[in-house]
């Protein structure tokens, strides 16, 4: 089972995470089907059946059960893999919240999917974003390679004794969960150097360590517990940075890329031609693809435009957002989600970015773009249109805060 050479194989986003879980030697997995995340469990099941991975494979009775299974397995010292999509994520929500408050570092694949009703299999980020306030680390990946690498990083960060928190590896349903790309797998032996064994220390549930986990506290202790949780979230920033550094050292390449180039100077965000950009687009996940193509085209015409792709959403990269966006005149946030009834009727990422920029002496103008809901494609032409609206806003006062990309009956 030990491989000492790197090899390249064709995997889609969910399969890539399954391979990472195999490399991480997970002990317990809990499955329940829902598109489009499911293939991670299809793959795990096959890897177990073929003797590539030694793990318990439990088919739960629903997502609530799925997350309770891995929560308790994790508290008992097992490394776990779980995942879901859309309304499945919401069906499990009670268990998902206590997974975080019990500080169980499970890793979950979230194959982003629109919430019912109406039923739709395509991507929308509102599912994963439901946990933005309850202590899950959330990361959005953009390629299968990034999915593989980030899953390994997720175990390392979540299980770190300074953090002990679950990590949601989010990926766009369809666009990444189901599109195959070349993934470079590291030598399995090296993974041990990068990822130490999971050790819960004094928080392990075992007869040798008779602790009570999650006793009832009423009003007495909740504030302190939330505060400690928040401190863990804050420490995660350091631990994430360390993990990316270490990844580079151990595997000899930057996480997320198959080439040995310095593609990611920052673990939390991916800046793309932001240095001199007057208009910067912000987004998460695979929307970066059409946006980058549009930027390349505009740059050929001498238009100063760039993109900031947010990778880690929790903890939110406040400093990075301030750093990379402070020079821009206009920031256009492209959300694959929407927050009904929110200020200026914008997307969730828009509000986080807007809030991060508030303390700047000179604030860029900021616009919210809602696009690709339910899996509708955001095309290069759409991205060009966003940039055009951004350029107009640079030169004229803002009259409108939110634009819905390509919606029937709405001028676009």
């Amino acid at each position: 089972m030990t491989e000492l050479v790197q090899k390249e194989i064709l995997l889609n986003g969910t399969q890539a995470v399954a391979y990472a879980a195999m490399y991480a030697d997970v002990d317990v997995t809990a499955a329940y089907p829902i598109r489009p995340y499911t293939e991670v469990m299809d793959t795990i099941s096959k890897l177990i059946a073929d003797g590539q991975l030694d793990a318990e494979f439990i088919v739960a009775e629903g997502e609530h059960g799925q997350f309770e299974i891995v929560k308790h397995a994790s508290l008992t010292g097992a490394r776990t893999l779980v995942g879901t999509s859309g309304v499945g994520w919401l069906y499990g929500m009670e268990a998902i919240v206590v997974t975080a408050t019990d500080r169980a570092p499970v890793v979950a694949v979230i194959g982003n999917r629109a919430l019912d009703d109406p039923g739709a299999y395509g991507v929308e980020h509102n599912d994963a974003l439901m946990v933005r306030d309850v202590g899950w680390l959330l990361v959005w990946v953009d390629t299968a390679q990034e999915a593989f690498d980030t899953a390994l990083i997720a175990y390392r960060v979540g299980e770190d004794s300074r953090v002990l928190m679950p990590v949601g590896v989010s990926m766009d349903g369809g666009f990444l969960t189901h599109s195959e790309q070349i993934v470079r797998l590291p030598p399995r032996e090296l993974v041990k150097d990068f990822l130490p064994a999971y050790n819960r220390g004094k928080y392990l549930v075992h007869p040798d360590n008779p602790i009570s986990v999650a006793p009832q506290v009423n009003e007495d202790w909740v504030s302190e517990i939330r505060r400690q949780h928040d401190e863990g979230m804050e420490r995660a920033r350091t631990v994430i940075s360390e993990a990316y550094e270490s990844f580079k050292k151990v595997f000899g390449r930057y996480p997320g890329t198959t080439r040995d180039i310095k593609m990611f100077e920052n673990p939390f965000v991916e800046p793309y031609m932001t240095d001199d950009a007057e208009v910067i687009l912000v987004g998460m996940g695979t929307v970066s693809k059409p946006i980058k193509v549009a930027i390349n085209k505009m740059r050929e015409q001498g238009i100063k435009v760039g993109m900031l792709r947010i990778r880690w959403f929790r903890p939110f990269p406040t400093q990075e957002v301030m750093k990379y966006l402070s020079g821009a005149k206009v920031v256009c946030v492209v959300d694959r989600d929407y927050s009904l009834g929110s200020p200026f009727r914008g997307g969730v990422v828009y509000h986080e970015v807007r809030s991060s920029l508030y303390d700047l002496d000179e604030r860029p103008k900021i616009l919210s773009f809602i696009g690709g809901l339910g899996g509708r494609e955001i095309t290069v032409q759409d991205a060009e249109k966003v940039i055009k609206i951004g350029l107009e806003a640079r030169d004229t006062p803002i009259t409108r805060h939110t634009y819905w990309i390509n919606v029937r009956g709405d001028p676009w």
Partner: protein, 324 residues
Amino acid sequence: MYKSIIKTMKDVPLEEFYTSGHRTCQGCESAMVMRYLAKVAGPRTIVVGATGCMYVANTTYYTTSWVVPWVHTQLGGSGAAALGTSAALRALMRKGKIKEEPINVIVFCGDLGCADMGLSGVSNAMTYDYNLLIVLYDNESSANTDIQETSMTPYGAQTSFSRPGTARRIMKRRWKKSVVPMIIAGHRNIRYAATTTPAYPLDTMNKIKKALEIGGPTFIHSLDPCPKGWDYDPMYSHELGTLSVETGLWPLYEFVDGKLIYNEPTKGIVEGRVKRKPVREYLEKQGRFSHFTEEDYEYFQKMVDEMYTSWEIPGVMPIKSVIK
């Protein structure tokens, strides 16, 4: 099969693994179940408790009553928590990550969590082959939230969801469901399931012991008189437990490897040696039935009689009455 049974109270282990620190009501029979199970299971045990009376009253931060490791699971999470804990132990032992040894996994849940919300999860746990024991501690209401009706609340009982009024005297019209037969009928690989009530401590302790020794997925349903919810003086808890069995309302039995065994005094009732006491003796001692009229007592008695006269398996399986 199991190695030993506890014959007299003198053979009961002295050590306590569920001790002081809890704040259950005086006369709480569910607390007795916890004490028995911890005693019998001993120190190499992990206990998981679902939300319910035994969570809220037992595990106040800094004063937990559990000497063995104890973990909370959500109201509907018992089956999954059992699976997760047991699967982790199996994987970690097989892979040499922790020492190989038998560790008991016991999950307890109340009627609301187990028989209502958590039933699908409990059922799922019963389909696997992990070693786990799920104990349903049934106080016939959601007791820690102010006594609300559950599917396990007896016919006609008053709760804050089923209050008798001037237009309708009986608000709870559904009959309590039988969980153990449902578990047995639907899960082929389960080797041990039983009913009990803490008024018979040896019965309860031996059943827990057998379940743990036989292994695999196992299930025990305990009827626990609850002074707060049933409205009686706490000193009568054991008396009510005894009456629930002697009236035939709560038959004591166990399924061992597919065989049904009645336990005394239910065995005597089924074999016709012991006469059932009128169920009224049990009902009239509880404030929750204080609005009952003659007609209600009669109806209740008729339903209990049917359990023994018209059921396929007396007191256990109602099939015959359905198909007749």
